[in-house]
């Protein structure tokens, strides 16, 4: 199954035997994964399989009970978390933006606080990033005045404005009406073309088909299989993966 050429440089993310326990139950039980620069890893799997937890653990939002994570060679610990977080950005399904700040402030505020940039400079950067996701005319609106798609685009802009090396997306379109999902996916495809390293949890198979360089299939807190898009989506050898894909495709046909 390993038809991907081994990239020469050190992996951007190395996950070694990662275990995460949530209130007694194991959400992740022994994850090993390497992500290289420029890779777009699409993570698929049934709900409750630990996909979101995996993304969150990369930001130390959940603490591992066992195992280690390295981001660009430095180990992720309580102490290094605030530094490592600057290398990654995460966009959630929903409720990502701060409702009491305008769209512009939502993007500019973290630049001011995290990058210690002066306010006018931060707002210039924010404007520029918001332009790039097509929200130029919405910058003085509040998040809840926007459509779901516009909100997600603003959330993506906020993540990008901090110039992360790795972009994590946790089902970025699953809370959206289908009519708005397209505009968000288009922007993500554009970002993918810029060479950003991305980890994407999604059920949008067309999108996965479009951007993925590798596909990770998770179930029950474990990685069941990792492989190229070709192997995983077109010729799945794993029985469970095949079942999962069939279910997803069937669901899509119904809706």
């Amino acid at each position: 199954m390993n038809q991907i050429l081994p990239p020469p440089e050190r992996p951007m993310i190395v996950i070694e035997d990662l275990h995460v326990t949530y209130g007694g139950a194991e959400a992740l039980c022994g994850i090993d994964l390497e992500i290289h620069k420029n890779e777009k890893a699409v993570i698929i799997g049934p709900s409750g399989s630990g996909k979101s937890t995996l993304l969150k653990s990369l930001l130390y939002l959940v603490k591992p009970s066992k195992g280690r994570i390295f981001i660009e060679g430095s180990e992720l610990t309580e102490k290094t978390a605030s530094l490592v977080r600057q290398e990654l950005a995460l966009v959630f399904q929903s409720y990502t933006l701060f409702p009491h700040m305008t769209v512009l402030r939502n993007v500019a505020f973290p630049i001011e606080k995290v990058k210690k940039a002066p306010r006018d400079q931060a707002e210039d950067m924010a404007r520029e990033t918001l332009d790039s996701v097509g929200l130029t005319d919405k910058i003085s609106r509040y998040p809840l005045e926007l459509s779901g798609g516009q909100r997600q685009r603003a959330a993506i802009a906020r993540a990008l404005a901090l110039k992360p090396k790795i972009l994590l997306l946790d089902e970025p379109t699953s809370a959206l009406d289908p009519e708005f999902a397209g505009e968000v996916l288009d922007i993500l495809k554009e970002i993918a073309r810029t060479g950003m390293t991305m980890l994407i949890v999604t059920h949008e198979m067309d999108f996965a088909e479009d951007v993925a360089t590798i596909v990770v299939f998770m179930e029950g807190g474990k990685i069941m299989e990792v492989g190229s898009k070709e192997d995983m989506l077109h010729h799945p050898s794993n029985q469970r993966l095949r079942k999962f894909l069939e279910r997803i495709i069937k669901r899509k046909e119904i809706t």
Partner: protein, 222 residues
């Protein structure tokens, strides 16, 4: 019995009790806010001891009458060598009482903020202080503003219980006037009208503040 002029003698006399009523309720509210913040966070804490202490405090206060709490503070504390003047005792009792209710308000205010909001704030690299001050505080305060006003209005009314330890606030003064005039209906209606005026002003002020602070498009979760 000499003719008593209501407007020139009784009304001013009653109104002199208003500052004390306001002092007790506002000072009690402020003390309660600090205690509420402390114990509200305590109730949300993962630390078992903190959590237990906070829960015991909240349940003990909510499970006993304010009147009894006032009597305990004023007449009971001297047994421990703590003698408070009636006004201070009133403020302490009202404050500790309110703290238990405000602890629950603080808790609900913080819990009403979507978890993803806080996780994104954390993932952006903001510090705990920045998240607390710029995200949690403004959102939680907006969420609980109506409950806090409600609590303050309740305190204005409940501060009347402090009259039992001899504080000459509005209700106590009403009782004095009653004793001189034997006009219960007139006197107590007047007392009630003054309480109403205070409380109504407070709710209107809060409603306009709520409107001013409201976030466009934001619907508060109930």
């Amino acid at each position: 019995m000499p003719e008593i002029d209501f407007l020139t003698s009784i009304v001013p006399y009653l109104l002199q009790g208003v500052p004390l009523t306001i002092q007790i309720s506002v000072a009690g509210f402020a003390l309660g806010f600090l205690l509420g913040l402390l114990f509200g966070l305590g109730r949300m804490s993962d630390d078992r001891v903190l959590n237990l202490i906070s829960s015991v405090y909240v349940e003990a206060i909510r499970g006993t009458p304010l009147l009894v709490q006032i009597l305990l503070v004023y007449f009971g504390l001297p047994s421990f060598g703590i003698s408070l003047d009636p006004i201070t005792a009133g403020i302490v009792a009202v404050g500790f009482n309110s703290g238990a209710y405000q602890a629950e308000i603080v808790r609900s205010g913080i819990q009403s903020i979507p978890k993803e909001n806080l996780e994104s704030a954390e993932s952006l690299g903001l510090t705990s202080f920045q998240i607390g001050y710029h995200i949690i505080l403004p959102l939680a305060l907006r969420n609980v503003l109506p409950s806090l006003t409600n609590e303050l209005v309740t305190l204005v009314k409940e501060s009347s219980l402090v009259s039992v330890i001899g504080v000459a606030e509005l209700t106590r003064r009403g009782e004095y006037v009653m004793a001189w005039t034997f006009l219960p209906l007139e006197v107590y209606l007047l007392v009630a009208a003054i309480y109403f005026a205070i409380c109504f002003t407070l709710s209107r002020a809060s409603a306009s503040m709520e409107k001013k602070l409201s976030i466009p498009g934001y619907i508060r979760k109930r």
